[in-house]
Amino acid sequence: MVRVRFFAILKDRVGKEVVEIPVSGNITLRDLEEKVMEMFPQMEEYLRGRRLLVSVNQEFATPETVIKDGDEVAFLPPFSGG
């Protein structure tokens, strides 16, 4: 299982803070994003336009980053701290 987290506006859009997605073997973040868009079409606008950053285990990731069982992936909309 991969633990997928949504923050701020993405949490509101998806209507969930956390979802568990089963993965078999190693997949790339790009593969996981496809699964997420199938489950939540409202994520397409952000993912296709790259209007977000994605972290894997709390480090920034790229679509090529390899995801494995037990990882935590977070979808992070544009930051507005400070």
Partner: protein
């Protein structure tokens, strides 16, 4: 007390400055940046704010900013405190304290720290306006 923190409660600017000053007798300049809640944004009246953070990662990014600041600038100490949760108009949001031997290094470093905080730290602001709640998606 950690030099970088994310916390719900307010902070004392005097106490944070004192903590930084105590770290070295070579400090001759302290520059602070204080971000506060304003009541206007993109022409809209703001009634209040709420900040959310990615617990763990936000703290890690603030620590990374401090470490890079200490490595890349000629400064002696850096403290960063960011609040989360509901924050009223006029209340403190974020404090950055930079100490150095001479003022110019502290001024430059402080500006870099707040810009980098806005760029890489997973913290989000929600504004409560007369028309409803809005997640802010840009950081001027």
């Amino acid at each position: 007390m950690e030099m970088v923190r994310v916390q719900r409660e307010d902070f004392s600017i005097d106490e944070e400055i004192e903590r930084v000053k105590k770290t070295s007798k070579a400090i001759g300049a302290v520059v602070t940046f204080l971000g506060t809640g304003r009541d206007i944004s993109r022409g809209e009246r703001i009634q209040g704010l709420e900040f959310e953070h990615y617990e763990g990662m936000a703290e890690k990014k603030l620590a990374e900013i401090r470490n890079r600041a200490l490595k890349n600038f000629n400064v002696l100490e850096v403290a960063i405190v960011h609040r989360v949760g509901k924050i009223g108009i006029g209340e403190n949001i974020v404090l950055i304290v930079v100490a150095s031997q001479h003022r110019n290094d502290a001024f430059m470093c402080c500006e870099w720290c707040i810009s980098e905080l806005k760029r890489i730290t997973p913290i989000w602001k929600k504004e409560f306006t007369e028309k409803g709640e809005i997640w802010v998606e840009e950081h001027p």
